[in-house]
């Protein structure tokens, strides 16, 4: 296909967006101290172009003509319903993030170079588009690597803090490892097919298992799936809040895109084993993410663990979709895929909303420890309102968007239970429904904790006491996302048509339309009317009997201080104790004083937990690598020129020998 046809389709808009962002990147690098309203506007225009491409564009593909070669493959791109879906996600999250950033970055201007952040952010957006449009492995990898590098630059933006340097280093290690797996998988697939182009890969059987698994591990590392999620709760909180929103909301989804492209929709690999693997890892991730989120006291870290949870939910959808393909049940395959993709969009929206909320709180209080916050709903009403909506959405409460996609996943599980071939699979599907319900209830617990401790009650510190509402751009960005949560929840039946187009890429016509059986609009209307009637009635009653404001009941002991409120740790304690065995939860209470029982002088309570996966598996592995490099590799790199010359000669001889041997 020629350039002009590509430009006639969605290509021109994508191209314009990418060029615009590259211009932003250059401008940002040239003007390091620039706070960036103009850059923000340009970034938003780029996102708007992307949305145009996603919504109104046509399917097309493009391979650049001859001089534009990368290695032995061409620069080639493809736009189809699946890539358009992910372009929409980038655009939808990009706009509010760009709106939010100027206000947020202003409070960091002493510490970081703002132009640099804008440059890296624009580059990240552009390379994500590259990853999603790439039609062959080389273009994909180049975009993937620049995406990793630019996100690393964003994580380390605030590099004067030691914690952040450490987090960025861990992130770098994780992305390098992931990329190594991905490259190995791509090379293997190239070896088997002789082509770099994804459309020419159609691998199946035992020989495909190797590359498929390598690619899957590479992608799962980027997505932050258990057990490769280690970096995610460390790196995401370290980045500035808008960047966390982009990383959690969009960047890790590129891995989901690639999973959907390689394993589900595109059919590059038809390996039966991948379906159950994705399903099981997804189920574990979802649970793992949410129980660790419950223990967190750093708001952004809590949200990062919820990304692990939601990636798990998305992967469960992809997993049952693959099982549907394997057992030739188109309904199951389509429901699973549609639920996964819809949840990807929804998670992008509510997670970026929540990260922006955490960022707004951070700029106004300079605190991320939830135990020091409280009462912000009176001081930051808009931020609080948006955060409550986002929390309800992530808890999958109707009528918001999280409910719509989780409901579709439940329907997928139910279809799996109906069409399962054996008692075991049918029972397994019912168990998965219960599992999702458990995860949903845990998410509710976690977000009641987060909202309750951060925004409700009384402030627990001076900073929280003196907080004020975030700037206008920041508030508008959050409101925009909150409205999207509501709108997508109500418009869920409409979303089924683009999802149906993607599902149809799997080969059979879309069955999605008749799976949606909830009259969500009617219910929302009913809810609004009922609440309205009740509110009017109550207002009528309060005319004769006005509401009296008084103190919270304190059992007659005198004024309640903020410290008498329930803390996040105590809120999570009953659930943490139930799952304590998983992370060695312990609560130690010490009471000191002469008459300890009745008149204690000091009472301290301390909770402890340990992430066994990290301490028992990753730390030993890393230590042994460290030891090996210290004992062995260091000797190889002794800094002696003679030694290096010998290496060169040896390698040259080896290569010659291999070449001659052929």
């Amino acid at each position: 296909m020629s350039v002009s046809e590509f430009m006639g389709g969605s290509g021109i808009w994508c191209g314009a967006a990418v060029l615009l962002w590259l211009a932003v990147a250059v401008a940002g690098l040239l003007k390091r101290k620039y706070s960036g309203s103009a850059l923000s506007v340009l970034t938003i225009i780029g996102c708007a172009f992307l949305l145009l491409a996603a919504i109104f564009g046509r399917n097309c593909s493009l391979a650049f003509p001859l001089p534009w070669y990368l290695g032995d493959s061409r620069f080639s791109f493809v736009i189809d319903p699946l890539s358009r879906w992910f372009l929409a996600i980038i655009g939808v999250v990009g706009i509010p993030v760009a709106l939010f950033s100027p206000g947020y970055l202003r409070h960091m201007r002493q510490r970081i170079s703002l132009g640099f952040v804008w440059a890296a952010l624009a580059l990240l957006l552009a390379t994500m588009v590259g990853v999603i449009l790439a039609a062959n492995a080389i273009v994909f990898l180049v975009a993937w690597e620049v995406m990793a590098a630019s996100s690393f630059a964003l994580v380390i933006a605030d590099h004067e803090q030691r914690d952040i340097r450490r987090a960025a280093f861990i992130y770098l290690g994780a992305t390098r490892t992931g990329s190594a797996f991905l490259m190995a998988g791509f090379l293997w697939a190239h070896q088997l097919t002789g082509s770099w182009s994804f459309s020419e890969w159609s691998l199946s059987g035992v020989s495909a298992l190797g590359p498929a698994l390598l690619i899957f591990v590479g992608l799962a590392t980027k997505a932050g799936s258990w057990p490769f999620h280690l970096w995610l709760p460390i790196a995401h909180p370290a980045a500035p809040a808008p960047v966390s929103a982009i990383m959690s909301g969009v960047m890790i989804k590129t891995a989901i895109y690639a999973m959907a492209r390689f394993f589900v929709v595109g059919g590059s690999f038809s390996v039966p084993a991948i379906g159950p693997i994705i399903l099981i890892l997804g189920a574990i991730s979802a649970f793992w993410g949410v129980i660790f989120a419950l223990l967190q006291h750093d708001l952004k870290r809590l949200l990062a663990y919820h990304s692990v949870e939601n990636i798990g939910i998305i992967m469960m959808g992809l997993g049952i979709s693959l099982l549907g393909k394997r057992y030739h049940v188109p309904l199951l395959a389509q429901l699973g895929l549609a639920a996964a993709l819809f949840h990807t969009l929804n998670h992008a929206i509510f997670k970026s909303l929540l990260f922006l909320g955490a960022g707004a709180v951070d700029t106004r209080t300079h605190l991320r420890n939830v135990e020091k916050l409280g009462g912000l709903i009176h001081r930051m009403p808009w931020t609080a309102g948006a955060f409550v909506v986002g929390s309800a959405a992530i808890c999958a409460l109707p009528p918001l968007n999280g409910f719509a996609s989780e409901w579709m996943l439940y329907q997928g599980f139910f279809a799996f239970a109906q069409h399962g071939h054996s008692v075991g699979t049918r029972m397994g599907a019912l168990l998965l429904m219960g599992w999702l319900a458990l995860i949903g209830a845990l998410a509710i617990a976690c977000f009641v904790k987060a909202v309750g401790v951060v925004f409700l009650g009384n402030p627990r510190s001076q900073q929280a006491e003196h907080a004020t509402e975030a700037g206008r751009g920041m508030v508008i960005a959050q409101m925009l996302l909150a409205f999207m949560c509501i709108g997508l929840g109500l418009a869920a039946p409409l979303i089924l048509s683009p999802l149906g187009k993607i599902a149809a890429q799997m080969g059979s016509p879309s069955l999605l339309r008749r799976t949606w059986t909830i009259p969500i609009g009617l219910l929302a209307l009913l809810l609004i009317v009922t609440v309205g009637v009740l509110a009017i009635w109550m207002r009528q009653l309060s005319r004769s009997l006005p509401v009296r404001r008084f103190i919270t009941w304190e059992c007659g002991f005198g004024d309640l201080g903020p410290r008498t409120q329930y803390t996040a740790a105590s809120f999570a304690q009953p659930i943490s104790r139930i799952f304590g065995a998983i992370y060695g939860y312990a609560l130690e209470v010490t009471v000191k004083g002469r008459h300890r029982r009745h008149f204690p002088e000091t009472v301290t309570a301390e909770t402890m937990h340990e992430a066994h996966l990290e301490t028992k598996i990753y730390v030993p592995i890393l230590k042994s690598i460290h030891r090996m490099s210290g004992n062995f590799l260091m000797r190889l790199q002794a800094g002696s020129v003679h030694q290096y010359l010998i290496y060169m000669a040896l390698v040259l001889a080896l290569l010659l020998w291999i070449g001659v041997g052929r």
Partner: protein, 307 residues
């Protein structure tokens, strides 16, 4: 039967019966304790009294506290309209298709709002109640979903109206019905999980959450609780009735009568249980709810094998 008549009965049922059921439970409980007890209509008197009293709101409270009972009651009303807790046949045909997951998540929405409102006042009791409520719903929700999904698998639909219109496998019906009864005790904050009438806030769950409410706010919460009582006990009663294979073949009015009677009987059983059980230690609650989970899982296994 005339569509208008059905709608009328349905709405009267919806507006009056829940409070009546709460009155019956209280009366039987009083009789169990050798008291004469308040009249069965006492909840109606309470409600009208609360609506006529001044509402006092904590100075720390925000709009969450004010709007939580309004939205909570609206959600409970809508859920009660959707759920066929008095049998499916008298459900008017304007009631939309009711997915059971929608119902469970609507109930979760109500709980989410109640928990937030509990924390909103900055009272330690509110936080304590909310934390425990979150724990209990975490233990109960998987049981509910698996249990009703087992019924749905048998009926081949996730629509509650379809599920409860069709005959069920008696064994699955008994298991799920019993699981629903146990789950209802926890969800409705009844003994042995929670004591709704204790005088010590530290031992309460639901009452600790709504401690700061008074007047109109409390009235709305009380009514929502009555509706939830009907929804849960009604679902349990309907499921248990389906264990009787002839039930779905009975004439319409007869089935309606039996449904209401069984709901009252279940309410009385709950009251008797409150009279004879002691409240469980908080740490033993998971063990108690494990019974419900096991029954649900068994039902799911049987349903999966029978399909």
């Amino acid at each position: 039967m005339n569509a208008w008549l059905i709608t009328l009965i349905y709405l009267i049922n919806l507006l009056i019966f829940p409070l009546f059921l709460v009155g019956i439970i209280r009366k039987v409980k009083a009789l169990m304790q050798n008291r004469k007890g308040a009249p069965v209509l006492q909840p109606f008197y309470d409600l009208s009294k609360l609506l006529r009293k001044t509402e006092t709101i904590s100075g720390s409270a925000s709009w969450v506290f004010v709007w939580s009972p309004r939205v909570g009651l609206a959600v409970a009303l809508i859920t009660a309209v959707l759920v066929p807790w008095a049998g499916t046949l008298l459900t008017p045909n304007w009631v939309p298709a009711t997915n059971f997951l929608l119902v469970i998540y609507l109930l979760a929405l109500g709980k989410f709002l109640t928990m937030l409102a509990a924390i909103d006042t900055g009272s330690a009791f509110g936080g304590l109640g909310a934390s425990r409520e979150a724990t209990i719903s975490m233990l109960v929700e998987p049981t509910l979903v698996i249990g009703i999904a087992a019924l749905a698998l048998g009926a081949g639909s996730t629509n509650l109206l379809t599920i409860y219109a069709a005959p069920m496998s008696p064994l699955v019906a008994i298991l799920v019905g019993s699981a629903l009864v146990v789950a209802a005790l926890a969800e409705l904050s009844r003994m042995p999980v929670d004591d709704p009438t204790t005088h010590l806030e530290l031992t309460m769950v639901h009452e600790a959450m709504i401690l700061e409410y008074s007047g109109r706010g409390l009235a709305m919460i009380e009514y929502a609780v009555a509706l939830r009582t009907c929804i849960f006990l009604g679902l349990a009663a309907q499921t248990l009735l389906h264990a009787w294979p002839a039930y779905t073949a009975l004439p319409v009015t007869f089935r309606y009568g039996i449904s209401i009677l069984s709901l009252i009987a279940l309410g009385k059983a709950v009251a008797v249980a409150e009279g004879i059980f002691v409240k469980l230690k908080w740490r033993s609650v998971p063990n108690f709810l494990a019974f419900a989970a096991v029954m649900s899982l068994l039902a799911a296994l049987i349903a999966a094998a029978q399909i």
